[in-house]
């Protein structure tokens, strides 16, 4: 099919100047006007803007003043929050991403078996994802309540000491990461879609050769799923690195700086202290950080992802 398309395309390229294909191209550009405007004015120009503005001192009232790289120097040498915010953001996203991936892949594998009312269960796992984030964190703040909350009650039944989930600086990030895992129902759906594309023959062949369930998982399912694992890892990473709602609704960055996410710090500088240039410097470092993570993932992915039948993009 793809091959046939390509030959058709190649054939068309030869008579490229035909009025038919000109008309088609004009129509295509018309259809792409919204996306073009969006990519220009909502995505890439503001991205350039972040970089540009980060070299200015700009508060709300006066005109911007160029101050070379002073914003960046201050960030890394003087700012009492910034270094902590990088650590918090990385720490949080690493455990949230790993937790979400393990949880969602496990559930997807289970849901991929022949079980009764599969559609119903699939829907149940997706429900947390459709709840508004602000409400989710508010609801969970009661579950995490130190004295009357559900989790400390369960722990007390198991004979474990109370944990101050949201007020202990060492517990807060794992507590918030657990909520992220709970919210990752969308990953389950994407994993399920991928699992349904794994050819059964491989698994069956391995079974005939005497591979047990675990071996089949490691040597058949994981390699076939690797492109989707890569995709989900990236998506989950982008989601969790820009986590900001828990800090806005519950923690205000505390206790101490223990939930001072980079995006929250950026928000505070931009909209509470009106320091737009400085906030852009944070955004820019944040962007570089995400770019580095993405690049590492893509670079290493060549060694662990597997595309069936070569690259068919």
């Amino acid at each position: 099919m793809i091959h046939a398309n390509q030959t058709a395309q190649a054939a068309l390229k030869k008579k490229h100047k035909s009025p038919m294909s000109r008309k088609e191209a004009v129509a295509a550009y018309l259809y792409l006007i919204p996306a073009f405007l969006g990519l220009t004015f909502i995505t890439y120009l503001p991205l350039a803007g972040v970089f540009g503005i980060s070299f200015f001192k700009w508060d709300a009232l006066s005109a911007p003043v160029f101050n070379a790289g002073k914003n960046f120097v201050n960030l890394f040498t003087k700012d009492p929050y910034f270094i902590d915010s990088i650590k918090v953001t990385i720490y949080f996203s690493v455990i949230a991403v790993i937790g979400s991936l393990i949880y969602s892949l496990t559930i997807a594998m289970l849901l991929n078996r022949k079980i009764p009312a599969r559609g119903f269960w699939r829907a149940v796992y997706y429900v947390p994802y459709v709840l508004p984030a602000a409400a989710v964190y508010m609801g969970w703040s009661f579950l995490y309540e130190t004295n009357f909350g559900l989790f400390n009650y369960i722990l007390s039944q198991l004979g474990i000491h109370k944990i101050m989930f949201l007020t202990d600086s060492s517990a807060i990030i794992p507590s918030l990461a657990l909520i992220s895992v709970w919210l990752s129902g969308n990953l389950i759906v994407i994993f399920l879609a991928g699992l349904q594309n794994v050819p059964r023959v491989y698994s069956e062949a391995a079974e005939i050769d005497g591979a047990n369930a675990w071996q089949r998982f490691i040597h058949v399912t994981l390699p076939c799923m690797s492109p989707i694992i890569l995709y989900n890892t990236l998506m989950s990473l982008v989601t969790n690195m820009q986590m900001v709602v828990p800090a806005l609704t519950l923690t205000n960055g505390g206790p101490g700086n223990s939930s001072m996410f980079m995006t929250f710090l950026m928000y505070r500088y931009a909209f509470q202290s009106n320091n737009l240039g400085y906030a852009c410097a944070i955004s820019f470092v944040f962007f570089i950080l995400i770019a580095i993570f993405t690049a590492i993932l893509f670079a290493t992915s060549k060694t662990w992802t597997f595309y069936e039948g070569g690259d068919d993009r």
Partner: protein
């Protein structure tokens, strides 16, 4: 012969036990996933005295739906809900339609620069919107004077509805046999007619998926709404709820009632669309 068949049946039995075991895990994990929601709901129906009881009861003694009435006196749910809908309805409609247009161009039409534009589009999927928050804020407020309006929250959705959605629809359109539009083309149909009469009817489930994803996206957003909306009468649900929490910090029954109210619309929309929803994502065959 006999040995062989008995080993086959024992294998079948082992498989059956494994199936039952997996089903049990699915059910238990689903219960765990729903437990927080139930706990929030049951708390919303209790008196504050009952909330502080130890051990905490699993069911409320009296189902105090009156808590909701009390909460509504201070939490302007209906006003906030209306405001949220003013943002969501045009955004979802425009986002879905413009995403369809773009996806159609990428999936079916040939034009110079296609690869380049498409990769720009895909790359933007990995660009967190948080990065560009401040320049966009400057553009909307200083540049265009749109502070305290909903426009900065709506207009972006008129611009393609997000790279992921374009990608999803493109994948879906590519599964439709090309012969259909080739035939229409021979009959003299232009690309727009092919889109309206062949493509859109065929991809309706995927468009519903996109509409729901956009709904969830906006429904979930708090930061941007906080940045652009300052007047209490313009608050959206997310902003209203956050402010409400600030004012009623320790009144757990009211807080949980407010939380449940904001849960409801999303869940209802999801239950309506759920049939198409998960199927649609599965059907697009997210191969790469």
């Amino acid at each position: 012969m006999i040995l062989n068949s008995s080993s086959v049946s024992s294998q079948a039995r082992r498989k059956k036990i494994a199936d039952i075991f997996c089903f049990a895990i699915v059910v238990m994990a689903a219960a765990l996933v729903l437990l927080p929601i139930w706990w929030i709901f049951r708390t919303s129906l209790m008196t504050n005295a009952e909330i502080y009881k130890f051990p905490p009861p699993f069911f409320p003694k009296n189902w105090l739906f009156s808590n909701y009435g009390e909460t509504l006196k201070y939490f302007k749910f209906w006003q906030d809900f209306r405001n949220t809908m003013i943002i969501i309805v045009p955004s979802v409609v425009a986002g879905t339609l413009t995403a369809t247009l773009c996806a159609y161009a990428f999936a079916r039409l040939r034009f110079p620069g296609k690869k380049f534009i498409f990769s720009l589009c895909i790359a933007s999927m990995f660009l967190p919107p948080m990065v560009t928050l401040v320049p966009l804020y400057i553009m909307w407020t200083r540049g265009l004077g749109l502070q305290n309006t909903y426009w900065p929250l709506i207009i972006p959705y008129f611009c393609g509805g997000g790279a992921f959605n374009i990608f999803l629809l493109r994948q879906f359109i590519m599964t439709i046999p090309r012969e259909l539009d080739e035939a229409a083309k021979i009959d003299g149909a232009g690309s727009f007619r092919i889109l309206m009469q062949i493509i859109i009817p065929a991809i309706r489930p995927a468009m519903i998926v996109v509409a729901l994803l956009l709904f969830i996206l906006i429904w979930n957003d708090l930061l941007q709404q906080m940045v652009y909306i300052n007047k209490p009468e313009n608050f959206t649900i997310a902003v209203g709820l956050t402010i409400f929490r600030g004012a009623y910090k320790s009144d757990w029954a009211s807080l949980m009632a407010a939380t449940c109210m904001t849960f409801a619309p999303g869940v209802i929309f999801y239950l309506i669309g759920q049939k198409y929803f998960v199927e649609g994502i599965v059907m697009t065959g997210m191969k790469n």
